[in-house]
C-alpha cells in the first residue's frame, strides 16, 4: 500500500536536515497552504462539472460539451467570468457585514476541508477533538448564511436567512448525535485514530444496525446542512428568487457558489471518514486474498471513490425530489430524525456492551 506519508515524511526530513528549523517550517506551511488551496479549487471545479453533467444525464440532456472535450473546461470559464464581474455595493445595507458574510462561508468550508484525512500523512489539521472541530467550524458557515441574508436588507434574503437559521441549526443536532455513535464506538474524537481503527473493518459494518441508522441519519441531516434540494429552502429558487444570496454578485456570490459544492463534498467526506473508513480499503475478515487485492488500490483513490459515491447519492436525491415545505422540514428533524438519533445512541451503547 502506498501512502502519501512517505512523501510528506521525506519532504519533512529533507527540509529539516538542510535548513534551519524555522525556515523549514515556513516552507512546509507555505506548501500546505498551496496544496490545500489548489486541492480546494480543483475539487470545486470537478464537482461543479460533475453536477452539471450528472444532472444533464438525469434529465436526458447532454450537459456542457463545447468548452474543452466533454466540457471539462466549462467550470474554468465560469471561474474567469465570475472573478471579473462587478461587485455591487448596496445602498441601504450593512456593507461590512455583507462582505464578511461571504468570507465567513468560504473560510468555514476551507477550515473544515483542512481537517479531512485524504490519506495517511495527507491530513493537515488533526486535533484530538477532531469531531468537535468539524462540527464547530462547519457551524461557522451557518453564521455566514444568516448574516448574508440579514445584512442585505432585502425581504427575500431576509426570509431566506430566517429559513436557513431554523433549518441549519436544527439539522446540526442530528449531525452531532449521529456522529456521536461513532465516537462511542471508537472511543476517540481524533479523526486519524478513528480512521486507523477502521483498518480491519469499517465502522458501518463494525457498528452494525445502529451505525447504519446513524449513517443514514447523517446523510440526510448532512444533505440538509448543505442547503441542497430537497432541503434548499433558504435559496428556494422558485420561491425566493435566489434566497439569502439574492443581492450578491460577482465573486462574492462565487464564494457561496463554491462553498455550496465544497460543503457537499465535505459532508460526503465526513461520512466517508466516520462510517466508511476514509482511505482504508475494503477488508473482509478472513478473506486474505481479497484483502490483498484491495490493498493494491491506492488509499487516496479509496477515499475519493467512497466520497464521490456519497456525492452521487446527494446529487441523485437533489435532482429527483421536490422541495419540502418549512413545517415538513422541521417536523422531519424534530419529530423523526432527532428522537431516532437520540434513541440510536442508547442502541449503540447496548450494541457495544453486547458485542
Amino acid at each position: 500500500m502506498f501512502h502519501f506519508e512517505v512523501v510528506t515524511k521525506w519532504i519533512d526530513t529533507f527540509l529539516m536536515s538542510n535548513l534551519p528549523e524555522w525556515l523549514a517550517l515556513t516552507i512546509e506551511f507555505v506548501l500546505i497552504g498551496i496544496l490545500i488551496l489548489s486541492a480546494y479549487a480543483v475539487l470545486a471545479l470537478i464537482l461543479i462539472l460533475a453536477e452539471r453533467k450528472i444532472c444533464a444525464y438525469f434529465q436526458c440532456r447532454l450537459g456542457p460539451n463545447r468548452v474543452g472535450a466533454w466540457g471539462v473546461l466549462q467550470p474554468i470559464a465560469d471561474m474567469f467570468k465570475i472573478l471579473l464581474k462587478e461587485i455591487i455595493t448596496l445602498n441601504r445595507a450593512d456593507n461590512r457585514l455583507f462582505r464578511l458574510a461571504s468570507f465567513l462561508v468560504i473560510i468555514a468550508s476551507l477550515l473544515t476541508f483542512g481537517a479531512l484525512p485524504f490519506d495517511k500523512g495527507l491530513h493537515a489539521i488533526d486535533f484530538n477533538v477532531g469531531v468537535f472541530y468539524l462540527l464547530a467550524v462547519s457551524a461557522l458557515g451557518v453564521v455566514g448564511i444568516v448574516l448574508a441574508g440579514w445584512a442585505s436588507n432585502s425581504k427575500y434574503t431576509m426570509i431566506g436567512a430566517m429559513r436557513s437559521g431554523a433549518q441549519l441549526i436544527s439539522y446540526e443536532l442530528s449531525c452531532a448525535l449521529s456522529l456521536m455513535t461513532i465516537v462511542m464506538l471508537s472511543g476517540t474524537m481524533q479523526l486519524s485514530q478513528i480512521v486507523e481503527q477502521q483498518a480491519n473493518m469499517w465502522f458501518i459494518f463494525k457498528g452494525g444496525i445502529p451505525a447504519f441508522i446513524a449513517f443514514v441519519i447523517y446523510l440526510i441531516a448532512g444533505h440538509a446542512e448543505t442547503n441542497r434540494g430537497p432541503f434548499d429552502l433558504p435559496e428556494a429558487e422558485s420561491e425566493l428568487t435566489a434566497g439569502y444570496h439574492t443581492e450578491y454578485s460577482g465573486i462574492t456570490f462565487g464564494f457561496f457558489y463554491l462553498a455550496e459544492y465544497l460543503n457537499m463534498f465535505i459532508i460526503a467526506a465526513i461520512a466517508t471518514t466516520m462510517f466508511l473508513g476514509a482511505w482504508q480499503p475494503l477488508h473482509i475478515p478472513g478473506l486474505d486474498g481479497f484483502n490483498m487485492v484491495m490493498d493494491y488500490i491506492p488509499p487516496v483513490l479509496w477515499f475519493f471513490a467512497k466520497t464521490f459515491f456519497c456525492v452521487f447519492i446527494a446529487l441523485w436525491v437533489r435532482w429527483s425530489f421536490p422541495r419540502l415545505r418549512i413545517d415538513q422540514l422541521l417536523r422531519l428533524e424534530w419529530k423523526i430524525l432527532m428522537p431516532i438519533a437520540l434513541a440510536n445512541i442508547v442502541l449503540m451503547a447496548l450494541w457495544i456492551l453486547v458485542f
Partner: protein, 197 residues
Amino acid sequence: MEVKDIKVKNFTTADFRDNEYLEKYVEELRKGGVNVAIGKLDDIINWGRSNSVWPLTFATSCCGIEFMSLGAARFDFARFGWEVTRNSPRQADVVFCFGTIVHKMAPVVKRLYEQMAEPKYVIAVGSCAISGGPFKKSYHTVMGLDEIIPVDVYVPGCPPSPNAIIYGMMQLSRKIKVQEFFSLPKEPKIIVNKANN
C-alpha cells in the same frame, strides 16, 4: 477589414461574413489607435466570459415558452454552458428579453437592467421585443426594447424557434469575444432613452 479569426465551436468565421456590424466594430477599434491590439490576457478573459454566459430567467410572454424548450432535453443550451439560469439579476450576465414590453413593464425592465452587475448584455428575442411586433398599433406597447435599455443581439421571429435563439446566443458569444475587456465601463454609463429625445 477582416474580423480576426474567432473560434466559436460549430460556427466558422465564414458563417458570419455577412455580418457587417461586427466587422465595423473591430475596424472602429483598430482605427481608434491605442486600443487596437488585443492582448493575450484579454483573449483568455474573453474566452472565459464568452463561454460562461448566465442568463436571467426573464420572460414576459410567448417566447418564454421557447426559452423553456431551450433549457429542456431537445435543444439543451447547457451544451454551451448557458444553463446556469439565475433568478437574481445580480448574478446574471445576460437578459434574454422574451416577449412584449409594455408601458407598465418598462420601468421594471429598466430597473432590472440597472441592478445587474457589469458586464451585462441584452438579447431581444421575438418581434415584440425588437419593434413591438404584432402589437405595434397598441396604445400600451413599447416599440422595442431598445427604447428602454441598450440591446446587443436581436433574434427575430414570432416566436423564434429555439434554433434561432441558439444562433443569437452564439452571436452574443462572438460579440463578447471581440470586446475588449479592459475597455468596459469603469465610470458612469449613460443610458440613452430614445423615447424622450
